[in-house]
Symmetry: C2
Subunit: 193 residues, 2 copies
């Protein structure tokens, strides 16, 4: 049996820890390719161009939108985020696995373009913990935090549109679950004729 390409989409409420999870998953899975997003938000301390994100000005970003270079893009808390289309398509053509870590609006749009993708929802252990994590990060204003928490509550209702839900209570356990999902999905019998 040949290995098939997989599009894995990891999403969930902001602050749920999906970035940390995906970083660790990427470090542990040698054959996993990562999609790096383009954003107009300012780099956080320690973030590097082309590693966590491609940082672009709003004008540059909108030019890329015009050229249809994004698989999905969205405005989130005043900043633009987008997934470059070319890289995703080329990885899948090579029958490799690519991981997108995107917000839930983006996941919805990607699902329309790639209904066969594997959509994973990262669940916070509790809303209390989610709030703590968002405040603890200390990189945004309280107003942004409040908006994010309210959005998280709404977003939890969208879990039903996902294939899997992984609770991020303990990072090691959550990463093992993500790896298992990838292995299992490679064994999945195609539902197409």
């Amino acid at each position: 049996m040949e290995d098939k390409g997989l599009l894995i989409v990891v999403s969930g409420p902001a602050g749920v820890g999906k970035g940390t999870l995906c970083k660790r998953l990427f470090a542990e899975c040698g054959d996993l390719e990562y999609s790096i997003s383009v954003t107009t938000r300012a780099p956080r301390p320690g973030e590097t161009e082309g590693k966590e994100y491609y940082f672009r000005s709003r004008d540059q970003f909108l030019k890329m939108v015009e050229n249809n270079e994004f698989l999905e893009w969205a405005e989130f808390c005043g900043n633009l985020y987008g997934t470059p289309r070319f890289h995703v398509e080329s990885v899948l053509k090579r029958n490799k696995t690519i991981l997108l870590e995107i917000d839930m609006q983006g996941a919805k749009i990607v699902k329309k373009a790639f209904p066969d993708g594997v959509f994973i929802f990262i669940v916070p252990p509790s809303l209390e913990e989610l709030a703590e994590r968002l405040y603890g990060r200390g990189t945004e204003t309280p107003e942004v935090m409040q908006r994010r928490l309210a959005q998280a509550v709404l977003e939890m209702k969208n879990m039903k549109d996902y294939d899997y839900a992984v609770e991020n209570d303990e990072i090691g356990t959550a990463v093992e679950k993500l790896k298992s999902i990838m292995i299992a999905e490679k064994c999945r019998v195609s539902s197409k004729p």
Copy 2:
């Protein structure tokens, strides 16, 4: 999130090694419950009553059929095999995972009763290897072997009715894949409203 009960059905052509795989899976997964089948075939050397099978006479078996005690039962190469219903249902009620290792006729019937079960098809690395395994076992007559091989060729076409296909090329790898499927399925978002 609460753990949910899972019915795992492992099936595939005779001689594909599903018995060995499931034995190892069972040894490595403490929380997995095993369903022991009832059969009218004679015990093979080393097989113990109540461990590999419950060995019953044809009359005793047919009495159980009459009493509706089987989830599925079938005649296979002149012997009767059946899955006792009670144990499966009680395990699922306790939200535990139970594994059935059954032939493909049985899997088809169980799928009707439990469409939400997880159906895994074990694939032989090649038909040549399957023939070698069947002959190598040396426990059956050449005629039985030939019938089994012919049946295996037909049965491969039913793979499309399964959720997963796991190639049994290397037992360690195959067991890891089965474990991953179980972990992933526990994360699956229910498709029911």
